[in-house]
Structure formats: C-alpha cells, structure tokens
Symmetry: C2
Subunit: 354 residues, 2 copies
DNA sequence: CCTCGCTATTACATCGATGTAATGTGAGAC
DNA sequence: GTCTCACATTACATCGATGTAATAGCGAGG
C-alpha cells in the first residue's frame, strides 16, 4: 500500500493469500524475528551457519506464524522441486500397485514426493511424460515402459534423469530389472521336475510383443530345449492383455479346442489367477490335474486357491535401487549407464505341489 | 555478456540450464519471434487476444526452441500448481490401487497431475500431508482417512481444499462415500436368504475402530436384528489389519476353537480372499459348507476360487465426483459442505451361490 | 587504541511467467 | 487531414526463496 521513496520500494504487505487465507512468507518471519529474510533462509537450509540465539528467535517466529515454505518459489530458485515422477502402465494392476507402494515409501523416507502417471501401455503417453518431466515440476522419472523399442522414450541429453524398470533393451538409460529370461527358464524347469512334459505358457502376445513377454517366452523355450522337449506351438497360449479377465477368457477358449496340458506357466500372477478361476469353473483340479505357476509374487497370489507357485523377488529392493540410481544421476549426470539386476527365486506353493 | 546502457539491463543470456542442458524460456521464444515475453505468454494462455500472424510466429518459435514452460515459475506467479494430492492408507491394497487408478485417470483427463502419498493409517502422517499441501505444491487434496475422529485432520480455513473419501463423520470437509452400513446390512440379508442363520463377520477391529469397520459391523447387526436372529458375539471375528494375511490367520485361529458358521461376511474382498485360502486349506468347501462374501468388488475377487460375492460400486464415479467436488471448491471456497453418496449393489457370485 | 581477520548478517539481484498499466498502431468518422 | 477509439503489444513489477557480494560486529594481537 505504501510506496517507498527513491528506488527502494518498501512494501508492508508481504504475506500471501491462499483462497483468502493469509500465509506467512520469509519476509513475515524475518520481520517478526527482527532479522533479514536471508537469515531465515539460512536457518532453514542449515548450510550457512547461524548463531544460536538468532536461530532460536527465527524458529520461534516460524512456529508462531505457522510458516510453511512455498515450494514453487523454492523450486523456481533452486531448479529442483523435490518431486519425482513414477510412470506405470496401470496402477490398478496388483503388481504395479505393489511397486508403486514401495517406491512411494522409499521416496518418502528420503524426502521425495512422488507424482504418479499412468501410461496405459501407450508409447505416445510415455512421450508426453518426458515432456512433462521437463517442465521442472519433477526432478527425475522412474518409468516402467511396456512397449519394446518405443522410440518415444528417447533418453537423451535434453531430458531429466530417468530410471527404467524392467527389461527394455536398446535404451541408454539407467535401469533396474529382474532377469525374466532366467526366471522363466527356472520356473519351467521346476514345473517339469516331477516328469511333466506338456507345459503350456500363457501370456504370449499376439500382436506387438512386449519386451517382458519376449524374455519370458524365451526362457520358457530355453528350458524345454534344455530338457530335450520339442517345442510345441500349440502349447503357447496368447493373451493380448495381461489381466485376469483376458487370461481367464483366453484359457477358456483354448481348453475348448485343446487337451489339458500337464502344467501351465502364466507370465504374471494376475493372469494365473484368471487361469485358476477358469480351471476351477471347468472342474479341473489344481495341482492334481494340472500344475499352475505365475510370476511376480503378488500378495493375492499367495492367498489364491490353491496358493500360487510363482517367481518372487524383492520389490522393495527394486524401489531402493531405482531411487538410488535416480538420485545419483541427478547429482552427477555425466557418468555412464548403470544397470542393476535384482535376484529372483522360485516360490513353490500349492498350485504346483505334486 | 553485453551490458545495456542506463537503468535497463539488457541480458543476452536468458535460457536456463537443467543438468547442463539449456532450456528455452519465454524470453528466448520472444526474442526469436521478435515480440515481447508477455506476448508469448498471451499466446499460451489464450485469454488476451493475439493477432493471427503474431500468434503463428510465436508458435513457430516455441516449436523451434522446443520450449517447455517452467511450472514452478507459473505456480509461483499464479499461486496454483496444477497438481492435486491423493492420500491413501496403502497403495499396495488392491482396493486403494483401483481407486488411485481411477483418480489418476480422471485427473489426467482434466489436466491435473496427481501426487500420491501413503498414510499407512497413521493420523500423524495424515497431518503431515495437510502441511505439505499448504506448501503450494498441490492445489487440493483427496484424502482417504482411516482412523475415526483423527483430530489431526482438522479441515479448517488455513488449509487447502480437501475432499474426503469414505465415511468419516464429524468432519466439515466435502466427502464422497458409499453407505457401508446399508450395504453391509443388505449383504448380510442376502447371505441369510437361503435360510442361513449362523452368519459370521470378519474384520471387526479389536483396538481402535475404523469408521468403516463400525459402519459395516453396524449394518451386519442391523440385518440380524431385522431377521430376528439374536446377535452372537462369538460370530464376530476380529482382524486387526485388513489384509489377506491377517484375515487368513484370524480365521484359522478362529476355526480351531469354534464350529464352522454357515456364512462368512468379510469386510473387504482382500480379507475374503485370505479367508478363502484358509477354508480351502482346511478342506472346507465354498459355498457348499460355508458361503463367503466380501466388500469392494476388487478385480482379483472376481477371479477368486470360487468367484467372490461382494458389494460392488462404481469406483470411477467416486473418482469423478471427488474431483468435481475438489475443483468446485478450489474455484469457490465459500460454499457449504457437500456430500455425495455413491450407489452400491450386491453382486452374487459363486462363493455364496447355494 | 587501532587494525586485522573471522563470522554473522544484510542488500540486492535472480529464477521464469504473467497481471497491470501504459504505449503504440491502425482504421474509421468528421 | 485530423481526431477518436479500439485493440494489439510492450515495460515493469511481482510471486517467494536464496546465492552473491558487501557490510557490520567483535575479539585478539600489535
């Protein structure tokens, strides 16, 4: 309201409003504590030393005014927002949800906020995200891409730090992954152990192959080869969407035209649960008539009927490693590509117990 | 590099860096298009009219420079970030995940980003979130509280717009909810229809009651009363954590000391799936020996063995309504509390089919 | 008593976008 | 040919926090 004299403008209204409610700023805190705004800032950041008494006065003033820093302003000034993005195909998928859970949890422990985006397996959407990322509202991105070779995700110099989850190849970004090929191979071997030879695989994509599907199919085939079992194309059950609904329906159709395999390896637990439902509806007993296995070790799979044999791995480790790679790259963008592999194990449960 | 003359300082270095990569600003775009920064801003916002040719030049310049607006700066200036917060107890819970999925989806359609937080059912954490919300990085908050009467969530004047999900009472915030009481009552009635009288309820909390647990327990008891069935305390199976693990274990312990009820109403689908697993392990047939029902209509429940009878409701409608309430309140903070009720229906599936 | 040197504090500019108020430009009317 | 009016465009200040460089304070050493 009051204009100063000369070049200096002395404003008396410094607090800002949020929906009509006043909010204190550093200036307000400074005035109340009888110091300069920069000193308040110094107290908050702790880099520049502040004397004991002054620090106390400032802290008290902050408390009295219920001061909350404006992160937009800080983000503008610092060039960093303290927010990371997490992009997943579909949050409603139990596997994605568990990953998201761990990432949000680990991020929070380290003081980061997480902004979630769904790509819906759409390369276009994945591209949008990179752009969004560049708008400085997020400092980095953890991306779980689906489509192989999606040129959309060109992890280049003009983009913020990115960590990919999963087995995208041909990308230069940092990456955390589980060796799906080896895991699928081992699971197939485990299913074959009790002498089963007619082992079907559920989840082969008909059209555009996802990187994950290719890996798991490859591992499955490698195991058969290792066992000397000839590859039987009629045991590859395709399933366009990796959902229980799609899996249940695909298996239902399949069983109408094919004999029952001795074992069924589903490429995700979600699909396995759809499959279990179909088998149960047809009166097929698991594991007596057919052994079933999944992949991901999702919580619900453990309580499926029967409990689902699956490929298990430490999802929290994935979150921890992804965040480590991301923060390290944010600190130093120059170092080369880093790839972290997460161990897996075969969890044999009731659905394949012979 | 070149200093201007007089009071005006003409800077030639206007683009900013992000990890060593130059990023164009409005100034750069303006210079390239031969207009002022404000005109560029006008082109983007579309409020102030800009002549055709000028607009074209600006748009071309933006494209050439690969311009991306800095949202921190915009947020600082406008006081709004375009981000809303979503706080849920636990993302890994299929129900929460599905809700999150729909909210993220609907929010994206309306141009909002979503920042996710987990409260872990911790009132303290819920409080932190409100503070965080005030830091202007989020314009509003959708909160799914768990604990009843958590004084932490004091939806007051100094806080950003909040919409609560669920049946928190005694709060003045806008709210979207499903009538758990009525739904639980109807489900209990449905389970009793074929003449079942010994109906157990799984999910009663031992210690601190959640609002939801109270509602569902109440509905269950109301149904029994309506049916003239005396309330039998030994049919109330408590379960401290609403997870399949906890439910499976609680039921296992329960069955060791009690006869098998005729029906089991679990307060969530997740718990019901844990229960199904326990029943199967004990050789109890569902629905022949006992009918089982859940609540939430989670995807995996539909493919449980047997398919789970449940209380269903439109989760996308919850998301849509929550966002509508939130955006309306952000536009006008003065109007009174609004409460939206979402319809439910009883989905009878194989787990209770007699 | 004065200066040196160290530390705590301050004034000022800055990050990028945008509202405000003022300026510039053109067509149309007299 | 001049004046008005409407509209496109510009200069400047601002949002809030913080780095930079300069200042103030203060004890120790000469």
């Amino acid at each position: 309201m009051a204009a100063g004299l000369g070049g200096n403008i002395v404003s008396t209204t410094t607090s800002s409003k949020l929906g009509g409610v006043v909010r204190a700023t550093v200036k307000d805190v400074a005035r109340r504590a009888g110091v300069s705004p920069k000193t308040v800032s110094n107290v908050m950041n702790g880099i520049v030393p502040v004397s004991g008494p002054t620090r106390l006065r400032v802290e008290q003033a902050m408390a009295e005014l219920d001061y909350v820093p404006n992160l937009s302003a800080r983000g503008l000034r610092n060039g960093r927002s303290g927010v990371i993005g997490l992009a997943l195909p579909d949050l409603a998928t139990p596997f994605s949800a568990e990953i998201a859970h761990h990432i949000v949890e680990v991020a929070h422990e380290q003081g980061w906020s997480v902004q979630i985006e769904e790509t819906g397996s759409d390369p276009q959407r994945e591209h949008e995200l990179m752009t969004r990322a560049r708008s400085n509202l997020i400092d980095g991105l953890i991306l779980n891409p689906v489509v192989l070779k999606e040129s959309a995700v060109q992890v280049g110099v003009a983009l913020p730090p990115v960590v990919l989850l999963g087995e995208v190849t041909q990308q230069l970004a940092d990456r955390v992954f589980v060796d799906s090929f080896a895991a699928a191979r081992d699971m197939t071997l485990a299913l074959a152990k009790p002498g089963r030879r007619r082992i079907a695989a559920l989840g082969v994509n008909r059209g555009r192959q996802s990187a994950t599907a290719i890996q798991r199919t490859g591992g499955y085939e490698a195991a058969l080869q290792q066992l000397g079992i000839p590859l039987d194309g009629s045991l590859l059950i395709s399933c366009d969407s990796w959902t229980p609904a799609s899996a249940a329906e695909s298996l239902r159709e399949y069983l109408e035209g094919h004999p029952l395999p001795e074992a069924l390896f589903c490429f995700t637990d979600s699909m396995a649960m759809g499959a279990l439902n179909t088998l149960w509806k047809r009166g097929v007993r698991v594991p007596d008539d057919i052994a079933v296995a999944g992949f991901d070790d999702v919580v619900d799979g453990r309580y499926a009927v029967p409990s689902l044999t699956t490929v298990s791995f430490d999802k929290r480790a994935i979150a921890t490693e992804a965040l480590r790679l991301l923060t390290e790259r944010m600190a130093d963008r120059s170092h080369g590509q880093r790839i972290v592999e997460i161990d897996y194990s075969i969890e044999e449960r009731d659905s394949s117990r012979s």
